[in-house]
Subunit: 250 residues, 2 copies
DNA sequence: AAGACAAAAAATGAATGCAAAATAGCTCCA
DNA sequence: TGGAGCTATTTTGCATTCATTTTTTGTCTT
């Protein structure tokens, strides 16, 4: 490798010499794609901010060609926007966009539940039950973060139990798009909504045990619909106007 | 066999001078993407066939850079595969892949139905009813092709009625992936299954009229599940070994 | 004659170069 | 002082070029 990384910018991750580490990805383009996607999903770039290619190239230590390929893919995934002749910006989600995304996620999880009922094993159910009680513990201790994690794991377990890689990939894609929001959405939970969510989770588990596919499908959809409501409300309050260009005084 | 593609130098479509005609797309890359996607979706390239960049460039009359960008996007969409250092090939769907795709489509339509019930207007329902009777006419006349079209239009109308652009886009993506199969799947319909499908459509319309969301969701899922069954069977019979080179002469 | 090895040819992956478009900067004027 | 208009710089889009990797071809050995 000869291209000395211009010292202009700080590399997004430590400049690993070999491949990207934990993920097996051979091509530079693929590696770039993974890193850029993470970088965007994790919210390191302010929403709506213009992101000059040159800067990204310097940050990543590569030329523009593979970067542009990665950008095109990220745009296709809905994470960024590509304005003709005007560069890439992190996609800014309107309230309507969020509603739509939440609904699609709800549909996917609802589908996952239905499919899971057809093929889930007792062991998988047992594992989800364990997560459920773990989550219940967090609930009792008012441990928001722990609750969030267990909750997420439960939902992911259901998706995994559906044994449908296509679904899983699609689900992951949407999850990435709303990840930022999802997190804050979780903290939006008021005490009451929290208790409600716990009850819904009981119902989910119950339907799952009985392998009641269409029932579970309904419950999951409603559960996520309620979540959506909380999330959107929360965001509507919090970020009314200026989501970018933070006033540099504070 | 080396390439079922027209010989070198023949553009896929006449080299439109201005913009792409009916679609508004400004960038060359975008134009290329649309054309290539259509080209693949319509099945002009044999499945699993290697597609040399050079040849495509000549066909499209462009250089490799925008073409490669488009290929990356198509790969992200699941239409083609990109083997490292070994070029692009049209993605070959295994039977399992198809099952998964059909299930996800079923989930998406099921979701669409549920959402549609919340917001659909009487006019939209009336339009779907018209399509339904039109389809029934085709059914009575044993007009397979007409039936197929009306059927497709009904399903698309339901998706449209959900008023969720994200869902619509995602649905279109999956529809593209299985389009080839979908078509032949349709011809797989035996007389009996056909009658069954008509009855299911009656039920769909009924649930829609009553705005019975979760009921419609169930019916749609089952309807597509049955379709899936027919399609997969058909393909398992017909294309054991050679999944390409469709004898479309029949 | 069949298989193995090696060199040539071709294809891919990435970098660089160049023209067009957009943004920034500057001058001039009311 | 503030804005319209023009110029310079930056940035994007695409073509071209360079370096590897893969594939093909040809020869030699057993």
């Amino acid at each position: 490798m000869k291209s000395a990384i211009p010292e202009t910018g700080v590399p997004i991750t430590p400049p690993v010499a070999g491949n990207g580490g934990d993920r097996q990805e051979t091509s530079l383009h693929g590696e770039i794609l993974l890193r850029l996607r993470d970088h965007v999903v994790e919210g390191n770039i302010p929403e709506g901010a213009r992101v000059p290619e040159r800067k990204l190239c310097e940050m990543l230590g590569i030329s523009r060609t593979p970067l542009r390929e990665a950008l095109k893919v990220l745009a296709a995934e809905g994470l960024i926007e590509l304005l003709p002749n005007r560069g890439a910006r992190v996609r800014q989600l309107s309230q309507r966009d969020l509603e739509e995304l939440f609904d699609v996620m709800a549909g996917l999880e609802s589908l996952a539940g239905r499919l899971a009922c057809e093929v889930i094993t007792d062991e998988e159910i047992a594992a989800i039950e364990r997560l459920h009680y773990e989550m219940y513990g967090h609930y009792l201790h008012r441990d928001m973060h722990g609750y969030f994690q267990s909750n997420q794991q439960i939902h992911e377990s259901i998706v995994a139990a559906a044994r449908n890689e296509t679904l899983k990939t699609t689900y992951a894609n949407f999850a990435g798009r709303i990840r930022r929001v999802r997190y804050s959405a979780n903290f939006a939970r008021k005490r009451q909504r929290w208790a409600e969510a716990m009850r819904e989770h009981e119902a989910i588990l119950d339907a799952l045990r009985r392998r009641a596919g269409s029932e579970l499908s309904d419950i999951l959809f409603q559960h996520l619909r309620n979540k959506r409501g909380a999330a959107i409300e929360h965001l509507a309050e919090g970020q009314d106007s200026a989501p970018e260009a933070a006033p540099h005084g504070s």
